[in-house]
Symmetry: C2
Amino acid sequence: MNAPSTMVAMGLDQDTGPMLTTPSTLSPARPKVVIVGAGFGGLAAAKALASAPVEVTLIDRRNYHLFQPLLYQVATAGLSPAQIAQPIRAILRRQKNARVLLGRVTGVDRRARMVEIGEKRVPYDYLIVATGARHAYFGHDEWEPFAPGLKKIDDAVAIRRRILLAFERAETTEDLAERQKLLTFVVIGGGPTGVEMAGAIAELAKRALAQDFRAIDPRDARIVLVEAGPRLLTVMPESLSAKTVKSLKKLGVEVRLGQAVTAVTAEGVTVGGELVPAHTVVWGAGVAASAAAKWLGADKDRAGRVTVEADLSLPGQPEVFVIGDTAAMMTKDGKPVPGIAPAAKQAGKHVARTIRARIAGRREPGRFRYLHPGNLATIGRSHAVADFGTYRFSGFIAWVLWSVAHVYFLIDFRNRIGVSFDWLWSYFTYQRGARLITGEDTLD
Amino acid sequence: MNAPSTMVAMGLDQDTGPMLTTPSTLSPARPKVVIVGAGFGGLAAAKALASAPVEVTLIDRRNYHLFQPLLYQVATAGLSPAQIAQPIRAILRRQKNARVLLGRVTGVDRRARMVEIGEKRVPYDYLIVATGARHAYFGHDEWEPFAPGLKKIDDAVAIRRRILLAFERAETTEDLAERQKLLTFVVIGGGPTGVEMAGAIAELAKRALAQDFRAIDPRDARIVLVEAGPRLLTVMPESLSAKTVKSLKKLGVEVRLGQAVTAVTAEGVTVGGELVPAHTVVWGAGVAASAAAKWLGADKDRAGRVTVEADLSLPGQPEVFVIGDTAAMMTKDGKPVPGIAPAAKQAGKHVARTIRARIAGRREPGRFRYLHPGNLATIGRSHAVADFGTYRFSGFIAWVLWSVAHVYFLIDFRNRIGVSFDWLWSYFTYQRGARLITGEDTLD
């Protein structure tokens, strides 16, 4: 289960790098908890250790915590990046036993108990790895340039640029086939990301942009949602999947179920053997865990998720925990815990409780018990589906529930107000607040 | 004054490109007014032609109108890009005689009366060139990579990234000289941009970030404002320049007057013969007009501004107008009109009036008469200077005036609310809303 050869290959046996000293505001005598990743899981763990007699170091390669469930709204010009991201430092400002390091972790020396950031080394007594997941192309990495995924703010801004530029280019081309291709948007993957993206692109085209062009009518845009499986939103009951298809069709989205994508090129997407010429393709299908399994020399499943004990520690390494999308977390019945924010948060809190108990010499909580809060997905203005086991909602009520839940969970009061305002504004005016084409690929 | 050789060199004699046809929503029989640039001047001209019997085409290489006076707030993490930018299409949505083209103009064929966007050609009967200005390095273009200027949203986001990353790197370095260099910020140029940037960086370091680090104290940051001339804000009376220096010093900014910059490198800035080691340098000094003079084969002054007649038309080309920062506009007394938004707006309206009069066969308004609304510059929270001729303000009152004026002139109601909210929030909490490090140069 351990992989010493990997450790040697990564240079973990050489102690060449400088060791980061503990700043004087932290007390060096306390146990050091290092958390890698400031997503929902890592941040929940850090906060749950606030009053514990430990020194917390939270490492992330971004300076902000991202509210990923709303990233598709940045990609479709509804929200600005800053509205769904908060500086990690600001979140933990008042937590005196915590420090934040901006850095890209390159490896873990489990023998010396050191996290490596290039040449720098950060010592730990407890390590929590919460590095999340990225999109995967099932062995077709050559599709990535044509079908970008949606995991980071830079991804979302790049997709926003593609979508908005497609309409601009359609407005100035006189070639009708090219115009049709520019006005075709294919979303691959019928999970929540795919459903939300397809619905949001349809609303952008058919509402927000409807009056803004002279040579084209954005309402002619063709939006295709492709899912290889037999239905959308497989985590939901079948009745809600069917309602989702109905709502999407009402918005003008073409839903293709049970059709596999066999090629993605500059020409478009080949789906069910047919080429759909499309200029803009968004990937919402595969997810793979981050490189953490490699750092840890740990066992992993097919999606790259680290195999963990029932208490989320690494087998044989009780001081190392892996949580959230990075880990193959299981429910009591042996089913996989879903890769959603509540699961990561619960896992972060569970691990923090375990560490606190171990330090205090109290009985540890043991097995991680996942409490499923329900599933929510939005399809567009006034349309969503919600599944809370016995209670199921669709349509406007589900949409209100979805809006309230998402605003509530946005970390900061200021963001809550800002996002609420933007949503109300969009709701009543059909407008979008962040229709900017920025960055490299523009006309400059 | 004409430059046929340039026209030939630019391939203007070959009619190879496709000509953009007029969309059916516009009426092709009406005179065609083409406006290049959707800044304050171009947009004012387009709007002032709303009820005129013309067909307006507004061309810009960006899809948004930018409220440039607040760009420094994006660069210092106070506002999000979308808060100071509005889609041009959305602004002109209801103006039925206007269309918007996203495109980068590459030349003008004045003989055939065509604007060239690469291979595309857009015919005009009247042409308004309002392409603004960019920053200039007075023959030291090699300084640009080390001292980026502030004209575009991408500039502002890049500067924000540099500033925020400097604090992050200072937190993790153990090398004290390197730390001091990382915490030194030099702003070059004592005009409004330089003063506002220096004040905003000081507030960011000394207020918003003050509690967020553990190894460094951001309040130790050194902010240096350099001006080669004898005083700051030369457009203001001397008394207000002196007050500006006082306010900046109070904020902890080191003001260096009468000291020329002789080198900018990766090591820092050489000013008055002394090297100030600095990791972050912002250029707010020189401005040069866009390449429009070259397209037009027109005479220009030392800053590249096109020489225009009193009515802002090109000499010998009464159907071509050049306005705003692109033109060397003069007051009745032969003094240069300042390069500020109100001047560009007034010029845009004046040219629109001229075109309307000419089409209607009425007497044209003739000479452009500039009405100076006054000068305003903000130095930081609760500090600004305002000069309205006989009325001069400084301190809190000027700052309130500045805030109200800037919010008022933000084009869209929604942006006004959003920006007001962010400012009130920052005012009461000392926080910044957009502290994100995004884009290429991050740790990915």
